[in-house]
């Protein structure tokens, strides 16, 4: 009987030992060892030799440190590394359990604080202004895309750069996904390219509600713009560009000279104007009388003309603005406009560029504007 009892006791002891061991293992895996002093150390001191999971600053990596290779701080303050359980003294075990429990408690209490700390340390090592300056000098789209994926604080600076220029080629298809993502307000420069031999889509019918989201455009470049098709409600289609647009480049606009000046007067803050008139496929024959200009554009920047011979445009603008104030002028063509423009900008023009191949231009450049006006 005693023998049976002793065997039962041994079996029960074995089972009890197994259960305790299993519980211990569970406890050790659930409560992972994190030393509070370890968390407060600078990043380089955290790396423990031989432990691959101690390399990152991330909180998640801190919590995944293996128990057999973590730094211990004893009660007396001396550092050491934990070793496997074999041969360890009771005081070491007590210290180990003490520190693990303490670390786990601190971690549970300060989880949000730790996460915020880890996030802050990893993303704001550089001031935002510096990050913005670095990204502002990047001109590679692939690099900008990589910048935008670095972290949350880099995304705004990179996204502004990434979506700075929107080029709409043969259609407005690129507009719709950007509108859905709310990225159109980031666009600063809008380029519309449409070939003259294809059907032009940038028309009143083609301008959808997506364009109203382009609220911060400061540069407009439009190819083959049929201004006469937007008349007379042109303000309805381009009015939301008015406060912000400072530079306009038009290539081969379809309109009359007066309608062009009417279109330019739509933008009160306009400084730079570039007009190229290479060919005229169809002449606008609609009436342009009675057009009252919307505003007095500033026109204090750069004027670039190429093969542009519509003097009436500038005459109208001079009447509206009381003179022109361009500071830089590039008269690549259109010599008949030269004396008029030089006279209008005589007080402000700082640099003048001309093409010597335009032989007649020299004749106009050498004219004395005062003598011309007197005559």
């Amino acid at each position: 009987m005693d023998r049976i009892f002793s065997m039962v006791m041994v079996a029960a002891s074995a089972w009890a030992f197994a259960i305790v061991w299993a519980l211990r293992c569970c406890l050790w895996t659930r409560i992972r060892p994190v030393n509070p002093t370890f968390l407060s150390r600078p990043p380089r001191q955290r790396n423990v030799p031989g432990n691959r999971e101690c390399r990152s600053l991330n909180t998640a990596h801190v919590l995944n440190i293996r128990y057999h290779r973590y730094p211990l701080v004893h009660m007396d303050g001396s550092d050491s590394y934990a070793v496997p359980d074999v041969g360890r003294s009771l005081s070491t075990r007590v210290a180990t359990v003490w520190h693990r429990g303490k670390a786990k408690t601190i971690h549970l209490l300060n989880r949000t604080v730790l996460r915020a700390w880890a996030t802050r340390k990893s993303t704001s090592s550089l001031p935002y202004e510096i990050v913005e300056m670095i990204i502002a000098h990047c001109n590679d789209l692939r690099t900008l895309r990589a910048f935008s994926l670095v972290c949350r604080s880099w995304y705004p600076a990179a996204a502004q750069r990434l979506h700075h220029t929107l080029t709409l080629g043969f259609s407005r298809r690129r507009l719709e996904p950007l509108y859905e993502l709310g990225l159109l307000p980031l666009v600063k420069e809008l380029r519309v390219g449409q070939e003259y031999w294809l059907s032009r889509w940038f028309t009143p019918q083609g301008l959808t509600h997506h364009f109203s989201a382009l609220a911060n455009v400061h540069t407009l470049k439009i190819e083959n713009l049929e201004i006469h098709r937007f008349m007379p409600d042109i303000e309805r289609y381009f009015g939301h560009f008015s406060p912000t647009v400072r530079s306009i480049a038009l290539y081969n606009p379809y309109c009359t000279p007066r309608k062009l000046s009417y279109f330019l007067s739509l933008f009160p803050n306009l400084d730079d104007v570039e007009v190229q008139l290479k060919y005229i496929l169809s002449q606008d024959t609609t009436s342009d009388s009675g057009l009252v200009p919307f505003s007095v554009p500033k026109l204090r920047g750069r004027l670039v003309l190429s093969h542009f011979a519509w003097a009436e445009t500038w005459t109208h603008l001079i009447d509206v603005c009381g003179g022109l104030r361009f500071r830089h002028m590039d008269l690549g063509g259109g010599p008949c406009c030269a004396p008029l423009l030089l006279k209008a900008c005589a007080e402000t023009l700082e640099s003048l560029r001309f093409d010597v191949r335009e032989g007649s231009l020299s004749k106009y450049l050498c004219v004395d504007p005062s003598a011309d006006s007197n005559s």
């Binding site: 001109n139 220029t165 190229q276 190429s306 402000t348 700082e350 560029r353 005062s370």
Partner: protein
């Protein structure tokens, strides 16, 4: 141009592209230059396409510049329209060094300045619709400033 009161810079395009008509073009520039009456005029900029660097005309161009300098003192600037900024600067600097060694630039108070700018692509993309308008890199911007 005599009415322009604050003209600081006169920029001439296509002066040296076609060497066969350089005499005629030089006369055009000289005529326009002689009418400048601005008291703040300071620089004459010759806009250069990058393919013309190696064909820098020497006698005709610099004789014309010498005559212009007698009319009015100016600072000579070469503006190269190129994508290869460093290469263009290096080649043009070498060409100007050899010209200076011949004594053709001795009438200038200071050595010519070299600037660079991105060229227009071609006549089918006149507004540079498909060319990035991002500013150049930081080092390029700083070199331009210097």
């Amino acid at each position: 141009m005599s009415g322009l009161k604050v003209l600081r810079s006169l920029q001439v395009k296509e002066l040296v592209t076609n060497l066969y008509v350089l005499d005629f073009h030089s006369a055009v520039v000289m005529e326009a230059f002689s009418t400048i009456a601005s008291p703040v005029f300071s620089e004459l900029v010759i806009v250069y396409p990058d393919f013309a660097i190696n064909n820098l005309p020497r006698q005709v161009l610099f004789e014309m510049l010498r005559k212009m300098d007698k009319i009015r003192r100016f600072k000579l600037v070469f503006l190269v329209e190129t994508k290869d900024e460093r290469g263009a600067r290096r080649e043009l600097a070498a060409a100007l060094d050899s010209i200076a060694a011949e004594g053709l630039l001795d009438f200038l108070d200071s050595p010519p300045t070299i600037r660079t700018a991105l060229p227009r692509r071609n006549q089918w993309a006149p507004l540079d619709l498909y060319q990035t308008s991002f500013p150049r890199t930081l080092s390029q911007s700083l070199s331009c400033l210097s």
